[in-house]
């Protein structure tokens, strides 16, 4: 016991989560992606094995190497059992008599970066539905557990389990391999990969879950995956740089988006000293590097909009640029969020009258954000209408944070009256 300083070892935060995806990817590379489920099981068993030893004997000097060794042994044992079951009693007898039957297993050690990119591309195979891709990416590319995925995607555990099960069945039946596509196919698949990473980030950034920790971790995982794409020549495309820029700009406002009491803080009311300057600078560098080639992706447009939002001072130039970018975004990649945000830019450039006109055309009568926006626009000229809109928003709001925000807004409207 003398060599072990009990209780002083610190495990690297998220060590098991990180090792989970590395071990799973390594096993899949050695045995094939059709063994994804077995690989996940083995990875989990390694942590239980660690839990049975480390607290008593101390954390090994190289925890990752320990876990990989255990994973390898467990995989070999499983293969042996499988083989003897296939060979039946005949094989069993021969083995007992010492005749051959030994399983020859050569396991390649992890090539971490390579493995993880292959896994990401496999998970984003077009044969899998978008929602399967996101759930599966969280599981095998990020190492989240079922509970954590359910929490992040606001889905039931059963639903998540089913989704993952179906995705793994699909991988088997479609014969999806753990490999990086080449040439044009790589660029094609990259679109899917970027959409999945983008969804991961937006799940975290706009997610309705109240668990703040999960939200930010989702965003950071998305950033990590996008970053891994910038490290390989073939995948380091301008739109990947643009996506990184977008993430950096958004993430720079994390500390300012919520008040100490956990309520949303409106962009215009954020304490800009809480914005992370380092991330803003990083984002600008990525955006600069993204500005090559002819093709303007939605990530370019969204990153450019996010860039202007990092400017603290409201200048005419700022909002005119933002409006122009939203016009382009709506033309090429229309979405509800973009439409609502565009109206706010119209208001900043042309005033409330024109903005209300644009807003009313949208008729997004199921969205609480639509009515929250209307309330802001109406406030200056028609506060009764503003209050009616806020009450409608309150009926439609789904999260405590949104409801609290609307309540606060209603109160401030009353005071100003």
């Amino acid at each position: 016991m003398a060599s072990i300083k009990m209780g002083t070892e610190q495990l690297v935060p998220h060590l098991f989560r990180t090792e989970f995806r590395k071990i799973t990817a390594m096993l899949c590379r050695n045995f094939g992606l059709e063994y994804l489920g077995d690989s996940e099981d083995i990875a989990s068993e390694c942590f239980l094995a660690a839990l049975e030893t480390w607290p008593y004997k101390g954390v090994p000097a190289n925890p990752s190497a320990w876990l990989f060794r255990v994973a390898k042994n467990k995989a070999i044992n499983r293969l042996r059992r499988e083989k003897s079951r296939r060979e039946g009693e005949e094989g069993e007898r021969r083995r007992e008599e010492g005749e051959g039957g030994e399983v020859e297993v050569y396991m390649e050690l992890p090539r971490v970066q390579d493995d993880e990119l292959r896994m990401l591309f496999a998970v984003c195979h077009p044969a899998l539905s978008a929602e399967s891709q996101v759930a599966l990416a969280l599981r095998v590319c990020c190492g989240f557990g079922i509970d954590e995925i359910a929490g992040a995607l606001l889905a039931g555990k059963e639903a998540v389990n089913k989704r993952l099960y179906r995705a793994k069945e699909k991988i088997r039946t479609e014969g999806i391999q753990l490999e990086l596509p080449e040439g044009a196919e790589l660029i094609n698949r990259l679109q899917n990969v970027l959409i999945t990473i983008y969804l991961l980030f937006t799940e975290g950034y706009y997610s309705e879950t109240n668990n703040e920790l999960i939200r930010e971790e989702l965003c950071f995982e998305a950033m990590r995956l996008a970053y891994s794409l910038t490290e390989l020549k073939e995948t380091n495309q301008p739109e990947v740089q643009a996506l990184m820029a977008l993430f950096c700009f958004h993430a720079s406002r994390f500390p300012a988006r919520k008040s100490a009491t956990g309520n949303w803080v409106l962009y215009s009311e954020q304490d800009t000293s809480l914005w992370n300057r380092e991330l803003i600078t990083k984002g600008a560098q990525y955006l600069h590097r993204a500005s090559v080639g002819q093709y303007v992706s939605r990530y370019h447009l969204e990153a450019a909009i996010a860039y202007w939002h990092t400017h603290q001072v409201d200048s005419p130039e700022k909002w005119e640029s933002i409006l122009e970018l939203y016009d382009q975004l709506m033309k090429q990649y229309p979405s509800q969020v973009a439409a609502l945000n565009r109206v706010y830019a119209v208001y900043k450039v042309h005033g409330s009258e024109l903005a209300i006109e644009s807003a009313e055309k949208l008729r997004l009568i199921k969205s609480p954000y639509y009515f929250m926006l209307l309330a802001e626009l109406y406030w200056e000229q028609d506060n009764l209408h503003a209050r009616i809109s806020l009450n409608k928003a309150l009926e439609l709001a789904k999260t405590d944070a949104d409801r609290n925000f609307i309540h606060k807004r209603l109160l401030s409207f009353n005071y100003e009256e």
Binding site: L15, F16, P55, Y56
Partner: protein, 120 residues
């Protein structure tokens, strides 16, 4: 000063723990043992995997081999530590800190280890 054996049993067979959750258990277990070790009262211990656990029982019809210590209850984790304590009460206090006890139905059994000096 006597030595006591603290045996813990964990009967949560169904739950699929996430890597993050297992790491949290690991940390709690290390912290628990760490506080005992800080008092210089930790002697040793080990995990007892339930995988391939068997019980051999003497039954009327002969020896009976069953799975696991209890058969019916699906256990997933077990282990023991040996501590030094002045009294069984002190050993029980150590046992109460075990993170295993966060799960309802789990248990820590406290047993004195015979020291062979005829005092116990």
């Amino acid at each position: 000063m006597q030595e006591y054996l603290l045996i813990f049993r964990h009967e949560d067979g169904q739950k699929q723990a996430s890597p993050e959750q297992i790491q949290e258990w690991m940390k709690q277990t290390m912290d628990w043992i760490g506080t005992i070790a800080a008092k210089n009262k930790f002697v040793g211990g080990n995990g007892l995997p339930f995988e391939d656990a068997k019980v051999v029982r003497a039954a009327a019809e002969g020896l009976l081999v069953t799975n696991g210590p209890f058969g019916d209850i699906k256990e997933t984790l077990g282990g023991y530590i040996i501590v030094k304590a002045d009294s069984v009460e002190e050993a029980v206090e150590f046992a109460k800190g075990s993170p295993v006890l966060q799960g309802v139905g789990n248990s820590v059994e406290v047993r004195k280890i015979a020291s062979g000096d005829g005092i116990h």
